[in-house]
């Protein structure tokens, strides 16, 4: 060890830096910086990519001090349950301070990837102005900006390669943001604006596509009709990833025939999505490219009949990632199982969110997939019912799951055959899938399932619990057993103070804990906050007159409706709104 260290120290820093360049994972680089002071220093100045899983765990100043030469930043803001309206609007997660600080410090930012953050037009404008080499902006599930902000990006980022907007709530001002890409812009490789609701200038888009010869990924929005798609495909047959906009037309029309021919020429398309409005009879136009598809997302396509779906899928023998709606039905999943032998990730979303129709998939579909697709390792499955027997079979068939998320539409539905809780089924999953890192459970569940999870889920990093368990024991099993747990989110479950306070140090090994509609009281949260200064314990009230009023009403013995705690290096945040109180 000593000899090794002195030998390594003999190498000039450039060599160390070069060696470190080969380390791509954040974890590896973090480990390396802990070895010794000189490695820390070299790593610090050579680190280009930084990942911050919780934007409130650090602050911009510390980031810049720690990694002054950073070029690429990933930031995540709101807790996951914000996706489901459990976090009030205006909770936080603003990106502006980060952009402002990096601009001031002349960081040479090239890439920014944000998830669940509030992005104002102001921040986009500042971003566009401040970083001359900016290349890539990826916004996932963000909000707060309008197409005016996008116009600023388009106008000013001369070397922009990637503008990828995934599932954001954007206020579409129907401006001409797309037309703001100057004629000199030819660098685009990836452009995704599928989530925008408004019109875009089709002619401007066609010209943009024509001059960006390196364009590989293009995802259109709903407002663009098939005619435009056809013209674009003629200009860009080199695309790897295509998101159609609207996909509906008279299949006998000349436009449609032209489209079919254009599609045939697109030999490089490996990923297909969109169909935001679709006439099932138009789907055959894409059959020629199905054979080479590795990813297919039809989950935003309303109203495709199951038989049309299955006809399409029969062409897709190489699919590795498939996102669909439950309208495919168990039978349709059977077709997937027989056809898609390379399938790794499957997501089946519910189609009927407002009506009272019958959801179309059950445990049968899941079992069929598990039997037919040996490479399956990631699943998100919304279903009407489930059984332990099915889960046990799935566990046997697929020991390679790394992500397993099951969502029964009725959150506490028991085993459909035996009326028992689904403990045994999930138990089988965690016991069999030794590499499981993410798990969401649902259905009727007792403390027993958590005993199994604590016992077997050794690699588990993220666990989502809803309407489950009987007592504090359930939560304790998890906290004590899952050594690698990073994120725990719990709603509507009978876990209380005893579980919360039993191992307070545990939370410093985790990114965050969310508990809503559970049994924890204000007093216990206060105790936790007091004992653990490196945690922020936030009490989130519904926006009723602010936390001040709520405080006056809340007694230490009262249950807390929503608690979100996370480790942090920088103490209570300064931007918390009224209804958030950091204890």
């Amino acid at each position: 060890m000593c000899l090794f260290q002195s030998v390594m120290n003999y190498f000039p820093e450039e060599v160390l830096e070069h060696v470190f360049d080969f380390l791509t994972s954040h974890r590896d680089r973090n480990a390396v910086s802990l070895v010794c002071k000189s490695w820390y220093s070299v790593e610090k100045f050579s680190r280009k990519k930084v990942f911050i899983g919780n934007c409130y765990a650090v602050n911009p100043e510390r980031l810049i001090a720690r990694f002054p030469r950073l070029r690429s930043l990933i930031l995540k803001g709101k807790p996951h349950f914000a996706d489901f309206n459990l976090v009030p609007h205006d909770w936080g997660g603003h990106v502006y301070p980060w952009i402002e600080a990096m601009a001031k410090s002349r960081i040479n930012l090239e890439e920014l990837r944000l998830k669940r953050m509030v992005v104002s037009d102001e921040s986009l404008k500042l971003l566009a102005k401040s970083f001359p080499n900016f290349k890539s902006l990826v916004l996932v599930s963000c909000e707060g900006f309008t197409t005016n902000g996008l116009a600023a990006i388009a106008s000013n980022c001369k070397f922009l390669r990637e503008l990828d907007l995934q599932e954001n709530e954007v206020d579409d001002r129907k401006g001409h943001w797309l037309s703001c890409f100057p004629e000199s812009c030819t660098s685009l490789v990836s452009l995704n604006f599928a989530c925008l609701k408004g019109e875009v200038n089709a002619a401007a888009l066609e010209r943009l596509v024509a001059r960006c010869r390196n364009l590989r990924s293009l995802r259109l929005n709903h407002a663009l009709p098939l005619e435009v798609l056809q013209k674009i495909l003629v200009q860009a047959p080199q695309l790897n990833d295509l998101g159609t906009g609207s996909f509906t037309h008279d299949p006998n029309s000349e436009t449609f025939i032209k489209l079919k021919n254009a599609v045939k020429n697109c030999h490089s398309i490996r990923s297909l999505s969109g169909f935001l409005d679709v006439n099932g009879r138009c789907l055959p136009a894409v059959y020629p490219i199905c054979a080479n598809l590795t990813a297919l997302n039809l989950s935003y396509a309303p109203g495709i009949f199951s038989n049309e779906l299955t006809k399409l899928i029969r062409h897709c023998k190489k699919i590795e990632r498939l996102w669909i709606l439950d309208t495919i039905g168990d039978k349709g999943l059977g077709v997937v199982a027989n056809t898609c032998k390379e399938l790794q990730e499957l997501r089946v979303f519910p189609s009927d969110l407002y009506g009272v129709g019958n959801a179309a998939v059950t445990e049968e579909g899941l079992v069929a997939i598990s039997a037919g697709c040996p490479k399956l390792n990631s699943i998100l499955y919304f279903c009407q019912q489930m059984t332990n027997a099915a889960l046990i079979t799935v566990a046997k068939n697929c020991p390679n799951f790394i992500r397993f998320r099951l969502c029964t539409l009725n959150p506490i539905v028991p085993d459909a055959a035996t009326n028992q809780p689904l403990d045994e089924g999930f138990g089988a999953i965690v016991q069999s899938c030794k590499g499981l890192t993410r798990l969401s459970v649902s259905g009727q569940l007792t403390d027993q399932v958590f005993l199994y999870i604590g016992m077997y889920a050794e690699q588990l990093e993220m666990l989502s619990i809803a309407f489950a368990g009987d007592s504090d024991k359930g939560m304790l099993y998890v906290l004590n057993g899952c050594k690698k747990l990073k994120k725990l989110e719990i709603r509507d479950s009978p876990f209380g103070n005893m579980a919360l306070l039993s191992d307070m140090g545990k939370y410093e090994t985790m990114r965050s804990l969310w508990m809503s509609s559970c049994q924890v009281t204000l007093g216990a949260c206060k105790t936790l906050a007091e004992k653990m200064p490196r945690l922020n314990v936030e009490i989130i009230s519904e926006n009723e007159g602010g936390a001040g009023e709520v405080e006056a009403r809340l007694d230490d013995r009262d249950r807390v409706e929503k608690m979100y705690l996370y480790r942090t290096l920088v103490g209570p945040r300064t931007d918390a709104p009224d209804f958030v109180r950091t204890l």
Partner: protein, 175 residues
């Protein structure tokens, strides 16, 4: 009614039901406790008319973006009209919005009813066909399909009727 699915905060009860293969349906908001947890559930619920979707906030856990997109698609979609065919015992219903023009619609009708409709001409309607498509417009008048621009047809068509060719002569603008 057995309370076998009664969600409580204590230890699991010993109530058992020997019902098999029953599905619970979610309760309405009135039945939930203040924290949104569904109260007593009955395995019988699905025998009666389907219960309205539960008002549990955030369940099923679908991203609000996805929900709002689906809602938009639902409210925008659907121009369903009844289609009757002379002599057929029951009617069908189709969503005109799914079609992009007359030829598309007529092909679909031919498929659906296993018949042939033939060529439209302004002068002679569907002369020579065994069947001719007609529709009832906003004013209640019976009109021949194909005379007005497609968009106008979509907004004025209330009902479709596939008539025998012989009966259809006399409809149409010119004749």
């Amino acid at each position: 009614m057995p309370a076998d699915l009664n969600l409580r905060l204590g230890l699991p009860g010993s109530d058992q039901s020997d019902k098999s293969n029953k599905r619970s349906s979610p309760e309405t908001a009135e039945d939930t406790a203040s924290n949104g947890v569904p109260a007593a559930k009955s395995a019988d619920d699905h025998e009666t008319a389907p219960a309205p979707k539960a008002q549990i906030v955030g369940w099923p856990p679908v991203k609000s973006y996805r929900k709002s997109t689906a809602k938009k698609a639902e409210t925008e979609s659907g121009m369903y009209v009844k289609v009757s065919m002379d002599g057929a015992p029951y009617l069908r219903k189709i969503d005109i919005k799914l079609y992009n023009g007359y030829s598309h619609l007529l092909t679909a009708l031919e498929d659906m009813f296993k018949l042939s409709i033939g060529e439209y001409s302004e002068r002679e309607g569907y002369k020579g066909s065994e069947y001719a498509p007609a529709y009832e417009d906003k004013d209640g008048d019976l009109m021949l399909v194909g005379d007005v621009p497609w968009e106008m047809f979509m907004s004025s068509c209330k009902r479709l009727r596939i008539m025998r060719g012989a009966d259809a002569r006399g409809l149409g603008c010119a004749q």
